[in-house]
Amino acid sequence: MSSPVLQPRTRVSRLAQEAVDKARLTVVPRVRSRAPRVPFVTLVSLVLVGGIVGLLLFNTSMQQASFSASALQTEADTLAAREQTLRMELDDLRNPQRVAEQAQSMGMVIPAAPVFLDLRTGKTTGVRTPSTPDQSIQLEPPAPPKPAILAPAPTVVEVPAPTTTDPTTTTEADTQATAGADSKPQKNKQARKNRNR
């Protein structure tokens, strides 16, 4: 199998050898490149320097963005926390206990039975029952009684009734009594304050 292939190849190389032997070699004149080298070098250097500076700037700006991102994140967290705190305060204000305390201090009472007013006819349905202060519900359990040592029996001093019926004296006595009555609750308040501590 190998011989038919080998034969043409040897023939071809022999022919080529003859052609080379016959060929005349002449010196080709050297082509001188006239293109200036400086612009190219400048361009390449510019691209290089530009690339490096650009990359640096890009990196710096990313770093900067990262800083501002974390600052903004912190701010967002703070604001979210603030919002939640405010929502909690709102929920505390909505506490039925607080609303009821305010309403009762304004003299409002939850009625024992509802009465409906029809706005079109102006008529009421249901039995109208008066709401009285004793219907108001106890919002807080009464304070536990104080031990005797903290709540001594009041000292009662009997003042003999004034014998004169002079109107000025009466007025003066009245004023004194009022003053006494005024100062008493203050004392009580003081006492309560102390106990709370």
């Binding site: 974390s70 703070t78 979210a80 926390a81 705190t85 929920d91 506490n95 039925p96 039975a113 039995v127």
Partner: protein
Amino acid sequence: MMRLRIGFVLIAMVLSFFGARLVQLQGMDPKSYAAMAAAEGSARLTLEAERGDILDRNGVPLADSIRGKMVIADPVLTAGTAPDLARLLSDRLSIDYFKTLDALRGRKTGSRFEYVARRVPSTLASDTLDELEADGFEGISLEDDPIRDYPAGDVAANLIGYMGTDEPLGGFERTFDKQLAGTDGLATWQSTSGKGVRIPLRESTLKEPRDGTPLRTTIDGDLQWFTQKVLAQAVRQYRAKSASAAVMDTRTGEVLAFADVPTFDANDPTAPGVKADDRVSRGMTDTYEPGSVEKVLTVSSLIDAGKAFPRQKFKVPPDLARQDRVIGDWFDHGNIRLTLAGIIAKSSNIGTVLAADAFSPPQLVEYLKKFGLGQRTNVGVSGETPGILTPGDQMTSQTKDRVAFGQSLSVNVLQMTAAVNTIANKGVRVSPSLISGSAVTDEGQTVGTDTTTRTRVVSKEAARGTAKMMERVLDPEDGVAPGAAVPGYLVAGKTGTAQRVDPDCGCYDGSTTVSFGGFAPADDARFTVYVVVHAPGVDGGGGSIAGPVFSRIMGYVLGRYGVEPTNGTPSRLPVEW
């Protein structure tokens, strides 16, 4: 030549050292070194999932999660300035000075991590930290620590439960923890200073946290508050041991309020004076004998079975001798002639026993089971008691006599409310629910309004007849509980007074459980209210103690939901003949 050789030898020695180090690094334990390299300058942060809120039926939060911080000290850095730092911290955060001082000095020697305060509102904590840093203190840091807040304090606290330092400790918080807790997320990134600013284009991962799903209950917050206040006032007024009350929407079975007294503030579950018992829902976990309220179940069953009718006439003797003991009534009487309506209106044990003679024990028990007695209501309250109902085939006739008027069986409050509600709902029992929609408990049970079932227990006529008889209970002349009436409305109800069992000795201890269960408007019921007061310190029955509480709650709920009086004709059933 010599110099060159020495140089080669030296170079070979150095290179062989490098080679040995290389083998050590790469061959011996390469992973730990790689991990150390990665840990250097990498930061990781657990992103806490926000715990789901627990809402009332109108979406008002009963339990709410807000962001908080834990304040942590590194004693190595803080020990030097401990007194000044402790003063500042205790002032700003309202915490104990001496405990803070201990933490700042380190509770153990060499400790580098001490809790100074936990669950501090986020804004307060970061403001304080800013102030500390401005004053030049160091060694204090903050970490996320969510706060669970209960804005309404004790409202529905017994149902909702409360949180411990890190885990839920009771109520819905624990039962539905899986749903409420959510899943924490995780963020990792490369950083220049361990934490804080991340290096861009470096490896970072983020797994977003999945917040917990809110749990919506059927409780109406304002109504729940009102019920608790009225009940607490009654407990004080009658010097009772405890009390429970339930308000149920007749048609849907939704529980609008379920109150237990004494209760506790969920924000401060370990306050002095709060017993462990006060922190569970006693109405669900404790059994008691229902007393005469149960008579309406017996009587409606009898009517349904065609064995009695409201105007049926009975001769009621002063006492009734049965096999082992004598049954008496709460009031002294000679031989009286009562109708079935009269037996209910005057709450006669003897009359009920005589009427129930038409039933065999299994027949009565079968009906009571259909009313839901002896089995859990499965509303999502863990620790619920099924109550005690002796099976019909094991029940003696004496036990049956007592069961017929509500003794020798025990129930929980919600079971009984749902049973009375069956009469209100024209004989169809609606299974009660406390959860809106559906939720899965820690035991894998799906509960909520989506799983509500309706079963007919007694016929519409039997329920109607029983309701008519129950109206007579509130009659000022013929009934025993005029105090339970709501002005303007037709109200049907039944009192109950039962002896209490002392759990220690298993015997009746002489105290009583008084109750009142009823519904309004009687001819087209919208709400069922059931009130139970345990061991009142004054003499009285269901009518005089629980009745007024019922009236107050019923009046409020009718007004709150805008249910106008029906102007129906009041029941005129005769009580005597």
